[in-house]
């Protein structure tokens, strides 16, 4: 019987297999950042261990860095200590780091692909659940905890039990104004936040093939919101074209050898998935969340659901408490919901195509008077690229704020936070209670919906303008 793509990647990386034990998986690339690594380095020091492969490790500063005044010392002393700790650890263990102010600094999942260091056929881990982003290249990429960060630093491997395989088939053609963000929000609403638990997701079908690399990254990024540690897409010409010529892309004979291998990275025609999900791209419309988990989403054209409509008791209770937290009434059309802050950015939607698509809607118009728009490029390179295209001016002229790169309001760890009771339309990935600031309320949206919402002040798609 044939193998799925994820099974092939798994088998290609088993360094040791023994009956009754998890497989020992070799890790090709370990990305680290300031928040989930300090305790791992401490562990190494305590046991007198070294980093086995500094040359397979890469650090950036992203979660806890300011997006204003980045040329000054970090104002919050606790945050400053955390960032300084990463710098010291990288210096001590010989690890490459892109610090605040460096042209390659940015959100770890934006930096890897733009350097060409994320490639098909790799295993990639990071102490961050959105590591699934790199799966868009046909890599097996997943988030790990700090104990596992220490394990990878020390051994370049991880003991893991093989997950099950799920195919997410998306056939058809997206309508104008519908994006890959809408696909993934619809997938999560369909299978719920627990639907992918224990699985690796493979996104397939004509609608997926049509997507750019950046749009594919948005989909794989949110696999974790469906409960799956990893999600991936088979590499194709779009993938190879994206990688070619990037700083760390293979060159010469290496390129030919790599390409020959990459072309084998597809699920076999007779591969069997443990579960298959089908979605029709033609039927999708802009999607938005109404609740406090990413599975609580509906088409933007619909109204806040009535908790009584959920047959499952736990879902009904979750919907009831979500509506209380979100201060929403069942039956209210989503498009009547007023928005205080629009956040455009994050590892989900902070790449250049996201900024371009939003700028196209914003250009020559003004952000609504009671709404604030925060634009945070995913990396310093994205920021520079946007500025070279004049996108910064488009946002600034509209009254939006143009910031430096980082995770920013996606997780509300740095000063970019919602105030209690504030409501956001956010291109990020999580609408959990308080995620973007204590008491803040989040609606997850695509960059196009974010842009239209900024102009209208209420949840809107470009078609509503």
């Amino acid at each position: 019987m044939g193998k799925t793509l994820a099974e092939k990647l798994w088998e290609d990386h088993v360094a040791r297999r023994a009956a009754g034990e998890p497989d020992l998986l070799y890790i090709d690339l370990h990305l680290i950042h300031e928040v989930t690594s300090p305790q791992a380095f401490d562990g190494l020091r305590l046991s007198g261990r070294k980093v086995r492969h500094p040359e397979l490790t890469l650090a950036t500063e992203d979660h806890n860095v300011p997006t204003l005044d980045i040329d000054k010392p970090i104002a919050d002393p606790v945050s400053r200590l955390q960032v300084d700790t990463l710098r010291k650890n990288c210096a001590e263990f010989g690890i490459r780091i892109h610090s605040l102010g460096d042209v390659e600094q940015g959100i770890v999942h934006v930096v890897g692909p733009q350097l060409g260091i994320t490639q098909p056929g790799m295993t990639i881990v990071c102490g961050d659940s959105h590591t699934s982003t790199h799966g868009a290249f046909g890599a097996l990429a997943f988030g790990i905890g700090t104990s596992e960060v220490e394990h990878v630093l020390a051994t370049q491997t991880l003991p893991l039990a093989k997950p099950k395989m799920m195919a997410i088939n998306v056939e058809g053609k997206l309508k104008p104004g519908v994006t890959s963000k809408d696909i993934i929000l619809a997938v999560i609403a369909k299978i719920s936040t627990g639907g992918g638990q224990g699985y690796i997701l493979e996104y397939r079908g004509s609608a997926i093939r049509e997507l750019s690399m950046e749009a594919r990254m948005t989909i794989c990024n949110m696999s974790i919101e469906a409960g799956a540690r990893a999600g991936l897409i088979a590499p194709d010409e779009t993938t190879f074209e994206y990688i070619k010529g990037r700083p760390h892309a293979p060159k010469g004979a290496d390129w030919d050898a790599a390409l020959a291998y990459w072309k084998t990275l597809q699920s076999d025609a007779d591969a069997k998935f443990d579960k298959e999900i089908y979605l029709n791209a033609d039927e999708l419309s802009p999607f938005v969340t109404w609740g406090t988990n990413p599975g609580q989403g509906i088409p933007l054209n619909e109204a806040v659901p009535n908790p009584a409509s959920f047959s499952d008791e736990q879902e009904r209770r979750a919907a009831e408490s979500a509506l209380v937290y979100m201060d929403l009434k069942a039956g209210t059309p989503m498009k009547e919901i007023k928005i205080d802050t629009v956040f455009l950015g994050s590892c989900t939607n902070g790449r250049i195509e996201d900024l371009r698509s939003a700028a196209q809607i914003i250009k020559g118009k003004k952000v609504a008077s009671n709404t604030r728009m925060l634009v945070v490029p995913g990396s310093a390179r994205v920021r520079l690229q946007a500025e070279s295209e004049g996108l910064d001016k488009v946002f600034l002229d509209a009254g939006a704020e143009w910031r430096s790169a980082g995770c920013s309001m996606c997780l509300g760890m740095n000063p970019d936070q919602l105030k209690p009771g504030e409501r956001s339309a956010s291109t990020s990935n999580r609408n959990f209670e308080g995620r973007q600031g204590k008491g803040g309320r989040t609606h997850l949206v695509s960059p196009l919906v974010a842009a239209a919402t900024a102009l209208k002040g209420t949840l809107a798609s470009p078609a509503d303008l």
Binding site: Q39, G194, G227, L411
Partner: protein, 199 residues
């Protein structure tokens, strides 16, 4: 890591599903560079509510958290495990855990036990009726026992053995370094390296 063989204690019923790691510990509490002291951030947003279960006197000293389905979804922050442990929890019971949280908990010695939702409901009711009801978690037998009832749970043999021995995963892997070295000999030369820095 401390050995986990069995644990006897009282429980705290958390009747909520989809408790994500941002609820367990919000990002603003993740700035510490140590492994301890995270108990102040545990369920931080809910702790200001006097009716929140952790603020109820009758559940003081509880060491077993009984939670709704899909506990630990979201971020990979192991701080969520540390916050629960720093607060005093030894065991979390739920009908479903998020994958990364489950992995983190079992690496760090916080035993996460999966029971069917009706057993979770029965536990909630028993604990709410009598907060002092004593619950015994026996990892050797893989059972949860309370009020004369005994419920079996599943955990793979390898993880159970590692927890009962209190073994460090890294130490275990380092015993097999020869396999890792052998694998490295065969690795494709075109795989990228982060050093030297190329532009």
């Amino acid at each position: 890591m401390e050995k986990f063989i069995s644990h006897k204690g009282t429980a705290v019923p958390l009747r909520r599903s989809n408790v994500d790691t941002d609820q367990i510990i919000p990002a603003v509490y993740l700035k510490r560079v140590t492994r301890s002291g995270f108990e102040d951030g545990l369920f931080a947003a809910w702790r200001s509510d006097p009716d929140f279960v952790l603020n109820k006197k009758e559940y003081n000293g509880g060491t077993i958290l009984i939670a709704g389905a899909d506990f630990g979804t979201g971020s990979s922050r192991e701080h969520a495990v540390w916050a629960l442990q720093n607060y005093g929890f030894k065991v979390v019971i739920s009908s479903r855990f998020a994958d990364i949280f489950r992995g983190n908990s079992l690496k760090g010695g916080l035993l996460t036990i999966i029971l069917p939702q009706d057993e979770v409901e029965a536990l909630w009711q028993a604990v709410e009726a009598d907060p002092k009801v004593e619950i015994t978690v026996d990892l050797d037998k893989r059972t949860v026992a309370y009020a004369g009832r005994e419920i079996a749970f599943e955990l793979d043999d390898y993880t159970r053995w590692r927890l009962m021995e209190g073994l460090d995963d890294i130490g275990l892997t380092l015993r097999h370094l020869d396999s890792v070295e052998e694998f490295e000999q065969k690795r494709a030369s075109f795989k990228p390296k982060t050093l030297p820095i190329l532009s």
